[in-house]
Symmetry: C2
Subunit: 97 residues, 2 copies
């Protein structure tokens, strides 16, 4: 199992319709990609970093993760939404020790 997480901050104003649309669309589009398990849209609540949100999802193995990464819906979401609407982000991926 690989848990892929990304913490991020949007360019949109907090509480804005644009913010809600990004989070809703991200969850809807990414969670539907084959191989994505346990998708979560998250609020980042620690004051010890500058991120406001997170997405978390799990993949059975690296091949499934690679399939997600190259899936047209993921590629399009990154190109059309992520790169335009996200101000800063950090990807952290975990496997159980």
């Amino acid at each position: 199992m690989i848990r892929h997480t990304v913490a991020f901050r949007l360019k949109h104003a907090p509480g804005s319709a644009e913010e809600k649309a990004f989070l809703d669309d991200g969850q809807r589009i990414l969670a539907a990609i084959p191989g994505v398990e346990r998708f979560e849209a998250l609020r980042q609540v620690s004051a010890k970093n500058g991120f406001a949100f997170g997405f978390s999802m799990e993949f059975a193995d690296q091949a499934t993760y690679d399939g997600y990464d190259g899936h047209p819906d993921h590629v399009a979401f990154v190109r059309d939404r992520w790169l335009k609407e996200v101000e800063d982000f950090l990807e952290i991926d975990y496997a159980i020790l």
Copy 2:
């Protein structure tokens, strides 16, 4: 629910006995603190950041999280182990959106 995560890198050599002891002791000591749920010791596997490990745990609410933070076993672990053996870390806390 609050999911508290910390990604970190140790001063110890990869694969060393000191590394194993830190990870084992961290899991044993922290997971036993009242209120800690779903404790996980994790390997960080993305090349997009410099962290090698992670701990993840969940708390029912902020008061339980605060109780963990101030618990003598947590305070002692931070003082006696974390501050001496951890080279770099980042705390990221999530709540379900």
